[in-house]
């Protein structure tokens, strides 16, 4: 959306021109007045004065320009805020009481006995009552309302408006904020307007920092003199005489230098500020500018963000005590940091409260009561303040395709993403405990293994969670996007789908040759792949070749289908990377990132329909006006029939093939589909699979690319199983398309068989591709009558 950005810049330029033009006539007037006088000594004096005035005037003009640029520039640079998905609540929604509690806490709602105001919740047994905040969504606002909700087991069984008692159809909670995209100077802030500054904040500011604020002209000589006296008396600096305006001016400099020249400059700038802008405007800028804490590499600026950072609530919801704490931080945000130095912070807060009482902003009784309150600063909870660097990185990359960096870090955009914080939490926990477990089993030192994982909604292609490595809080190498590794057998389902898409040539029981292969490339190098068990299995049915991940059968099949056709199907399924159609591609000599793998597995999970993976749903500007939507896109790339056959085969992988290990995590009744992948010398362990509601791709390996000693089923499947178990997935629930028929066949030969024949299995076929040859068992039935023919016709 560059147009929006350009408009703002243009506005700024226009404003600057106007102001510069206005100043010129004023200076000219001064010059014409002073040139009228007659005496030579007087002329000299006037000349000198004129020179001095010119110098001072010129310098003021320069400072004035600095003030203008800083003051107006600062007010515009608001980082984009990134939100997780909003939680939708409705009768029938799957949610446990503990998860709802976590969601409410993440939004900064406070638990109370009886809900009386906004952002509070209470619980009695399975019944929750909470008062939501209003929130402006992309498609309109969700009003604040008091809600009563009942959970039975792990489903919402009743949802009502607590005030009217009427049932609610669907309730969208405000989305939790998960981060912001701040510029390279790492300043983050949430803009607050003057009218959003609570009165007790203004009172505390005046009491603690500048009691004459509304009466002076930028500097306060009385308070400077008083501070000077106090400092002389004490023999060191104990008191500052700076006004709020001076403090704001001080922030215009990027270095913390302390000199008389700097002080004079600040004073001059304060006077200019006061003359040019209104008290309220300056107060607003001050409230948004001041430094109030450090969060890793992010600097917390302004009261709006500080309220979220320390209390996880908007500024207008803070009480007197909490506000006094924030004002106390102005003296030194790290020295009085309430998280690391609670004693100092408490003392400082109480001093602010006492000053407020002394100056009559509050009565002594209120102050005493407030002083007895605990600090109330929230821990940096996992759901609430945990930032999701890997996911934010993905969002940022998607944004950078459409927006300029500057728009993202200064325009105050609000970005609504697809992140499910609860799923992300499960992912982070399982990856860190799962890897520790694998290392213990393999007797590796801690930290040897790395992992990456992607969780996607199968039908919509929304990325719901993303893990870029074992340390979820570390914003470094994002393996989910950047660990581009050979995918091994993960590619096989593409080859088998291509085969099954030719039902007149292939069905699940077509016999494939699992025999040795020797191929020479253009340079004469021999390629002779082997099966994992180093054996050739002779003629094997197609479904078994995939379930057991036989390499030789797959190479024969892929060569018969044409490697180029496999490549073009992969591209159709959303792989954008350039791929060379070499035979080794058939065994996964293709390097892709976990997110790219998730893209093409999404096609299987969605029954042949590709939806480009998305991390962003909507973007609105600072005023809540919609800028852009990333809608659900769907393109059919494979027929439902062949995809159904393939998915049944991927279920067999999990039931009887290389994915059997899943039984340690999920019950057999819960049907899931998936495929393992292992690369040469066990360097990469992959698993990609899906249930009815989740598609997940997991990779385990080492950053130094040394062998990790894990097959797909010994490594990635373990993480996949752990995560899936934690997510409590829905079964696959595959719907056979209309052209699918189930036929009894002999599994060894693929011939037609019957239910009573020993070992016969029911197999799906695309109508018309059923086997023609009859097994012996069925042949004998034939003599007695064509009962089975009638049954299957």
């Amino acid at each position: 959306m560059p147009p929006a950005k350009k408009k703002v810049v243009r506005k700024k330029k226009a404003a600057s021109k106007k102001k510069v033009v206005r100043r010129k006539p004023a200076a000219a007037k001064k010059r014409s007045k002073s040139s009228r006088k007659g005496f030579p000594w007087f002329k000299w004096l006037v000349g000198l004065m004129l020179l001095a005035m010119l110098v001072v005037g010129g310098y003021s003009l320069y400072l004035s320009q600095v003030v203008r640029v800083k003051f107006e520039g600062k007010r515009w640079a608001i980082p984009a805020r990134v939100y997780a998905r909003p939680l939708e609540l409705y009768v029938g929604a799957d949610i446990t009481p503990s998860r709802l509690q976590a969601e409410l806490q993440a939004l900064g709602y406070r638990k109370v006995r009886k809900v009386s105001s906004v952002a509070q919740w209470s619980q009695s047994g399975s019944r929750f009552t909470f008062h939501t905040r209003d929130f402006l969504f992309w498609d309109g606002s969700e009003p604040a309302r008091k809600v009563s909700l009942r959970i039975k087991g792990s489903t919402v069984s009743a949802l009502r408006d607590a005030t009217s008692g009427k049932p609610l159809d669907v309730l969208r909670l405000e989305p939790p904020e998960i981060g912001s995209i701040y510029p390279s100077h790492k300043e983050d802030r949430v803009l607050v307007r003057r009218d959003e500054l609570p009165d007790h904040l203004v009172a505390a500011l005046l009491a603690a920092e500048d009691r004459e604020y509304f009466h002076h002209h930028g500097i306060n000589f009385y308070s400077i003199a008083r501070a000077l006296m106090a400092n002389v008396k004490a023999g060191r600096t104990v008191q500052g005489g700076s006004t709020l305006t001076q403090q704001l001016a001080k922030n215009f400099f990027l270095t913390p230098e302390r000199s008389l020249w700097r002080k004079a400059n600040e004073a001059l700038m304060a006077i200019i500020l006061d003359a040019r802008y209104g008290k309220d405007e300056i107060l607003e800028a001050y409230a948004n500018e001041v430094f109030l804490g450090q969060d890793g590499d992010r600097a917390i600026h302004g009261f709006g963000l500080a309220a979220y950072y320390y209390f996880n609530r908007p500024l207008n919801e803070l009480n007197l005590t909490e506000t006094a704490l924030l004002v106390g931080l102005l003296k030194g945000a790290s020295y009085y940091n309430p998280r690391s130095h609670p004693d100092r912070a408490l003392k400082r807060r109480n001093l602010v409260l006492q000053l407020m009482a002394d100056q009559g902003f509050i009565d002594q009784e209120t102050a005493d009561k407030a002083m007895k309150q605990p600090l109330g600063v929230g821990r940096k909870g996992r759901l609430s303040n945990a930032r999701h660097p890997a996911f934010i990185d993905l969002v940022r990359r998607q944004l950078q395709r459409d927006y300029q960096e500057e728009d993202l870090t200064s325009e105050g955009l609000r970005i609504f993403t697809t992140l499910d914080p609860w799923a992300q939490q499960q992912l982070d926990e399982q990856i860190s405990s799962g890897l520790a477990d694998l290392e213990k089993r393999k007797k590796f030192p801690t930290g040897t293994l790395q992992a990456a994982m992607v969780l996607v909604s199968p039908q919509g292609g929304e990325i719901r969670a993303l893990s870029g490595g074992r340390d979820a809080g570390f914003a470094g190498f994002n393996r989910a996007l950047d660990a581009v590794r050979p995918i091994g057998s993960l590619i096989k389902p593409v080859i088998y789908l291509l085969a099954l898409s030719r039902p007149d040539e292939y069905s699940l029981v077509t016999l494939l040759e699992d025999e040795p292969v020797r191929l020479k490339d253009a340079k004469g190098r021999v390629w002779a792949p082997k099966n994992y068990d180093k054996q050739a299995h002779g003629l094997v049915p197609l479904h078994l070749a995939l379930a057991k991940s036989y390499n030789l059968a797959t190479v024969h099949l892929g060569l018969a289908l044409g490697v180029k056709n496999v490549v073009s199907l992969l591209h159709g399924m959303g792989v954008q990377r350039k791929l060379s159609p070499l035979p080794s591609l058939l065994l996964g000599a293709v390097s892709l990132s976990p997110v790219e793998v998730a893209q093409f597995y999404q096609v299987f999970a969605a029954g042949g329909f590709r939806s480009p993976l998305r991390a962003i749903r909507e973007i609105v500007d600072a005023d809540g006006q919609p800028l852009q939507r990333y809608p659900l896109q769907v393109a059919q790339v494979a027929e439902p029939g062949p995809v159904y056959l393939l998915n049944r085969n991927l279920v067999e992988v999990m039931r009887a093939g290389t994915g059997r290990g899943i039984r340690r995590y999920l019950p057999e009744s819960l049907e899931v589909a998936g495929k393992t992948g292992t690369t040469d010398e066990l360097r990469d362990s992959w698993f990609a699979g899906f249930s009815g509601d989740w598609l997940a791709v997991a990779w385990v390996g080492r950053d130094d690319n040394k062998p990790a000693g894990l097959t797909g089923s010994a490594g990635a499947l373990v993480l996949w199983g752990r995560v899936m178990k934690a997510l409590k997935p829905q079964p696959l629930g595959l719907l056979p398309p209309e052209d699918i028929v189930y036929i009894w066949v002999d599994p060894q030969t693929g011939y037609l068989s019957a239910e009573h024949c020993e070992g016969a299995i029911a197999m799906p076929f695309i109508r018309g591709s059923e086997p023609q040859l009859r097994s012996d068992c069925l042949g004998e039935v034939q003599r007695g009558g064509n009962f089975f023919d009638r049954l299957f016709d």
Partner: protein, 161 residues
């Protein structure tokens, strides 16, 4: 008394013979003549490296539970969102209608009717290829809902025109 015992004995013998006759005639009809060898045992059983017999590893495909082909009752929330989308569509707010339907689809991603409604909205927005794919997707979840299928197929053929 003795003659009565004799008649009883003859009657039991007759009955047993009758039952035996039934049994022997019924077996060939069921296709498994007595004494014939089951086909599987004609091939030597697979042997593992330890030399012991191992049952075949192939696990049978179980016929999946056939899902009910009646249009399922959607959740109240979905009904409300569909109604909202319908109102938005009627007042020409097609983008908002699509957004409401996508929201409903997040709740019930396998609801064929929702995919069909979204296909219609996209068609109205003249996004024909997307509309056609969405209608095909609706068919994939429609089961035996013939009226919905017919509507989807009409939409697909109109979109391809």
């Amino acid at each position: 008394m003795k003659t009565r015992m004799f008649y009883r004995f003859v009657a039991i013998l007759f009955l047993l013979g009758f039952l035996g006759g039934c049994a022997s005639t019924s077996l060939p009809e069921r296709g498994r003549p007595a004494g014939s060898v089951p086909p599987e045992s004609r091939v030597p059983p697979p042997e593992s490296r330890s030399g012991r017999y191992q049952p075949p590893e192939v696990t049978a495909y179980r016929e999946p539970v056939t899902p009910k082909y009646t249009r399922p009752e959607p959740a109240r929330a979905v009904q409300a969102l569909v109604k909202r989308a319908e109102d938005q569509r009627a007042s020409g707010q097609l983008v908002a209608a699509a957004a409401s339907l996508e929201r409903a689809l997040r709740i019930e991603p396998k609801n064929a009717v929702l995919w069909n409604r979204l296909a219609h909205v996209r068609f109205e927005q003249k996004q024909f290829s997307l509309a056609s794919s969405l209608a095909a997707k609706s068919n994939a979840f429609a089961g035996a809902d013939q009226s919905l299928r017919a509507d989807n197929n009409r939409l697909i053929s109109r979109a391809r025109r």
